[in-house]
Every structure is written in structure tokens, then in C-alpha cells.
């Protein structure tokens, strides 16, 4: 009987090597797999390349990995803290200013599409986003039918961490509201997709048409109930 549910966070993050490219779901505080990140901190992988929309979401999670010196490079669309009065990416800002961490800025839609290309077996693709800007420097560009395009590369992950709402033994997932964000595409783009879910349900407990990420894209599921607010 296929069962992708693992009993502990420790087992959920087992075997992630140094140098891995890690895709992390989340947008703002929504859909962030904080507990998986903390388990990875304990497991000790180093020299990570992290792909995330933001460069941190407060101190728990990614910021802890950065402060522990585990992250070599961040690929993201918005590395600045969104609100200077409630900074969410201070650890990144300090390490970046000190020249201790690399940053690759990618327009948010290009980030999603590069992940999709990786997950869907598509090679490099042309997009008009960023044509004529600094973010196109060093990339092949082409004018097709009068419109300028930038050639972008698929972005594969070794591992994806996502936060979902329900998960079952086959790896099927649902997400709460906009907590979905990068979750589905990151599961597709990684060889090992690990989902922390609010609740594990029995196989068949999610209606087929309600499945948001089919289990074929997910390798491990771990239950991590939300702390009561």
C-alpha cells in the first residue's frame, strides 16, 4: 500500500545533501513551511541554494538557516523587507550587506514560469518580461514580430518544501486560500517534494476534483498541526 506519510519532521527532511537547491513555498506569511525549515536546520545541510519569493519571513525559518550560514545563494523576486517597520528579511539584509550571500533577482512571474518549465519538461523559453531592463543583462534576447523577448532557463529543484492544508498517503494535497501560491509548481519542479500539512486524511478523503497537487508530484507528507492562534 502506497504510503508517503512519514511520522516525523526529522524523517521528512532526511537525506538532503549539502549543495542542494531547495524550493520553498510561501508568499508573505502564507503557505510557509517553517517547521520543515527548522527541521532542516537541525539536520545540518549546508551550501544551499534557496528559491523563495521572499528572502525571509521573520526570524523563524529561512532567516535561521541564513544566520547559521547554511545558505549560499537566494533566488527570489523580492528580497527587501516589504514593510520597513516590520522587517521580514533582516537576516538576509545583514548577510547580503556583508557580501556573505549571493542574490539572483527574478521577476515573480518569470520565477513561477521557470519552475513550471522545469516541472513540465519545457526547455528555455522567451518572455517579454524584463526585456530592455537590467534583469535581462547577460541573457539572450530576441525581437520576434516586433516584440522584444528574454530567454529564461527552467529552474529545477533538488527538494521542495511546501505547506499544504490536507494531505493523504498518496501525496495528494489541498491548500488553504492563497496559501497555495508557489506550492503546486514547486512540487512539480523538484525531485523530492515534501509537504507539511495541517492534517493527514485517509486515501480517498480528498475528493478527486478537489485535489490541488496530485500525489505524483509529492514524495513525502508530514502532519504538523497549526499552533492554536
Amino acid at each position: 500500500m502506497l504510503n508517503k506519510v512519514v511520522p516525523s519532521l526529522e524523517e521528512a527532511v532526511a537525506g538532503i545533501p549539502d549543495g542542494a537547491t531547495l524550493l520553498i513555498g510561501g508568499f508573505g506569511a502564507s503557505g510557509v513551511p517553517t517547521e520543515l525549515l527548522q527541521a532542516l536546520l537541525a539536520a545540518g545541510a549546508r551550501e544551499l541554494t534557496v528559491v523563495n519569493n521572499n528572502a525571509g519571513n521573520g526570524e523563524p525559518g529561512l532567516s535561521q538557516l541564513i544566520r547559521a550560514g547554511r545558505v549560499r545563494k537566494v533566488i527570489c523576486s523580492y528580497a527587501r523587507s516589504s514593510n520597513p517597520r516590520k522587517p521580514n528579511a533582516e537576516a538576509f539584509a545583514e548577510w547580503y550587506a556583508a557580501g556573505r550571500i549571493e542574490l539572483e533577482v527574478v521577476p515573480q512571474g518569470t520565477l513561477a514560469e521557470r519552475l513550471r518549465a522545469a516541472g513540465a519538461g519545457i526547455g528555455p523559453f522567451f518572455t517579454p518580461t524584463a526585456y530592455g531592463t537590467r534583469l535581462a543583462e547577460g541573457k539572450e534576447t530576441r525581437v520576434i514580430d516586433g516584440r522584444g523577448y528574454v530567454l529564461e532557463q527552467p529552474l529545477h529543484g533538488d527538494v521542495a518544501f511546501v505547506k499544504a492544508h490536507l494531505g493523504d498517503g498518496w501525496g495528494n494535497l489541498t491548500y488553504r486560500y492563497a496559501g497555495r501560491n508557489f506550492g503546486p509548481v514547486m512540487c512539480m519542479a523538484a525531485r523530492l517534494a515534501v509537504a507539511q500539512v495541517d492534517r493527514v486524511v485517509g486515501v480517498g478523503g480528498i475528493a478527486p476534483e478537489a485535489v490541488m497537487t496530485p500525489g505524483i508530484f509529492v514524495q513525502r507528507v508530514v502532519e504538523r498541526p497549526n499552533e492554536p492562534a
Binding site: 527587501r80 547580503y96 530592455g132 509548481v185
Partner: protein
Amino acid sequence: MNLPKLSRERLAQIVAGDIAPGSYVNLGIGMPTLVADCLPPERGVILHSENGILGMTRLPEGEPVDVDVINATKEPVALLPGASITDHVVSFSMMRGGHLDLTVLGAFQVSQAGDLANWDTGSPDSIPAVGGAMDLAAGARRVLAMMQHVDRDGAPKIVPECTYPLTGRGVVDRIYTDLAVIDVTAQGLVVRAMVQGLDRAALQAATAVPLIFDPACGALRP
């Protein structure tokens, strides 16, 4: 020089007044978020957010906050009846695939050719952060820039060529400022309306590009 000008709230009303019912709209961070307050649900304008929400409105005072129902600025919002939520790939397909009728974006500078600079000051100690700005600039059917006419030092923000890093080339269709509404056209920048009590010479003096005045140029009540 003390010019008559529009408040940010009045400017937001003017922008909102030009948005047709039934439009699908994404409002950028900063001043454009004020436009949302002038688009109550009964106006029938459907607001989109990068994180996959289509059909949102301001969270009513006293309503509980849900961490998974937020806008692109990460502020809590409310979902309207008829709202939908998708993942990032589909959400950005709405933006990049030309499905949004328009976007309103803040701007550091707009050039006479409609180049937009709004994502980075280029300052060496700032962290470059683009978010979805380049996707919106390239993908929305109409791009409206909304900004102060001049910067804090009084320097024009409508310029022959942007000196800040570009967000997109030739993407802006119309500029809304606290002084005027200006269309970017093949012939040049055409003033469609200006704030009441402002004279043409003063507007031209605050603009680093020659302006063309629409014969039907209207007056904006402050």
C-alpha cells in the same frame, strides 16, 4: 513654487473614476493601493492580487484576519462572493497573458516614450527587489502610472530618458500625477486634464519633456 495640486486621495478618486465597470485590475504597491478604497464592490471592478486572488476588497473593520487571505502588500483583505483563488502559475498567466484590463503602478520616473522606472533606485546599498512589477508592466493591456509630478527635491519625474533602472520599455499608456493626466502617444505626451488653477507654463516647467495640450484639456477639481 507653490502649485495647486491634488491630494493623494483625490488623485486616487480620479484614477478610479476612469476605470470601467467590469474591468480586471491589479493595483501596485504604494500610492495605487489608495485606488482600491475608491472602488467599492458595487462599482463592479474586479481586483487581482499576485498571490492568486481574483475578487477581493478591503477587510471590513472588526472582521477576523486570515493569514491566507492577503494582498500583494501582505495586508489582510476580504474575498467577495464570486472570488477565485489560484496558484502562482495561473495568477501570473492572468498578468503576463494579457488578461488584466489594466494595472496602476507607482513610478520613480516615466520617460516620454513611456519607459517606466519603479522597482529600484540603483543605489549601491539598496537590495534590488522587483516582485511582480516587470510582469505587470509587460503583460497588462493598459499600464497607468500614478505618482507625484515632481520628486522631493522638486525635480521632474517625467523625463526624456529614465535615469533609474527600468521596469519596462515603452509600457506606460497614461500618467496620473498630482498636477495632470497625461497620455503617452506616438506624437508625444498629451495633457488631457490638469488641476484647476494651474497654468500651462507652470505644468511645463515641472516637466522635463515638451508637452502637447489637448484642445479639450479638462480641469481637475482639487
